[in-house]
Symmetry: C2
Subunit: 231 residues, 2 copies
């Protein structure tokens, strides 16, 4: 029986734009597990199976509900230990946490200030109100104000990618010759942006662009086929 | 026969302050290998065994010369494959590269602008002239000018440690339950600063401080016993 996954969707049901859900989606593909995704919107908190914290991803596997992308990765790794590992080797889980913390404190923090208005433009009117009311107090600014100088901030954002850039310039994936969960963590952030924004985060000659291309090609082009911008 | 290691030294021969040499020193200890270190100064390029690129660390193992800390780690891993691995598992080497690139583009770039004058203060007069002449053009400023606003830059530097901080707050080492090469890469930067500067990079209540303490305690307090500041 396929695993069910609750996945954040835009106005169109097939526009999936949660960085955390993309981690899980790629992890499921890595494990070769079938999945039925359920499009879910910000204002549909009552539709989520308990237990949950009002956020996605959530998976339901043979009646078992697991929420939070990190908990899901751990669950899949344990429940499907006979399949390709998400954490190859004794140090991979620990080091993946460093990659995750870089992604969440540097990459995603930089990204949200570039594309937050593009998110608003791609969700339903009833979700737009929720999104604006919940996000603007966090920024202390309107969504329009947050992004209005994004062109000026782009060089700093691109420079912040140096640790990623130098790594994937010299090896195919963050995890080395083959992708694993740490790659999905970082890729989730790019796929989030790609789903809702045509803002050019990296240039085509950037090693990060080439790595993102390799990620888009994985699993039969799973991520590339998803609605989004920029190839 | 012990391995010989050429190690960057200050005015006092036992003050060792190269972040790259500390990576190697910790890696040798991790492997349980005996080492005789040779104190070496910036202006003693002619004293290094060929092949070299005029920099340390360099090791000589049974007549074989290996230079560059990354090449040395790879050499040790291959030549002493039966000993504790520096890269536990298939993804560890790839992920360690990400940690290395973060260390070199974020951590060490931030650190040098805090402590570069302290380096100058801890080397011999004949090395001071070389150091000033080679470093000041890189900064486009005198060493004094580089550090003069370091107190003002400290909050930004501390914030840049967030990926490290969040990781070692929840697990003992970057590599998880036990240290491996990625830990030594990051630690090398802190040990570099510790050897020559009393500037408080992190506060005692910072998880980074506690992690650094665990690193200082490894291998019988190898790094803690080395001349330096701040415990």
């Amino acid at each position: 029986m396929a695993i069910t996954m609750y996945d954040l969707a835009g106005a169109e049901a097939d526009r999936r734009f949660s960085p955390f859900c993309w981690r899980t989606r790629m992890a499921l593909a890595h494990k070769g597990l079938d999945v039925d995704t359920v499009p879910w919107r910000f204002t549909e908190k009552a539709k989520l199976p308990p237990p949950n914290d009002g956020r996605v991803p959530i998976i339901v596997d043979n009646g078992k509900v697991v929420h939070d992308s990190s908990a899901i990765a751990d669950y899949l790794e344990q429940a499907y230990a006979d399949r390709a590992t998400l954490f190859p080797g004794a140090a991979a889980r620990g080091l993946s946490k460093f990659v995750q913390n870089w992604t969440e404190t540097v990459l995603q923090m930089g990204l949200i200030r570039l594309v937050v208005l593009d998110i608003w433009n791609h969700i339903r009117p009833e979700d737009q109100a929720y999104f604006r009311e919940s996000r603007e107090p966090r920024f202390g600014a309107t969504l329009e104000e947050v992004v209005k100088d994004r062109d000026a901030r782009l060089p700093t954002f691109r420079a912040s990618l140096d640790p990623l850039r130098r790594t994937v310039e010299r090896q195919p994936f963050l995890c080395g010759d083959a992708p694993a969960y740490a790659d999905y963590i970082v890729f989730g952030a790019f796929q989030w942006a790609r789903a809702i924004s045509d803002f050019a985060l990296v240039t085509p000659d950037d090693p990060v662009f080439a790595w993102r291309g390799r990620m888009l090609d994985l699993y039969g082009g799973l991520a590339r086929q998803a609605p989004g911008y920029g190839g």
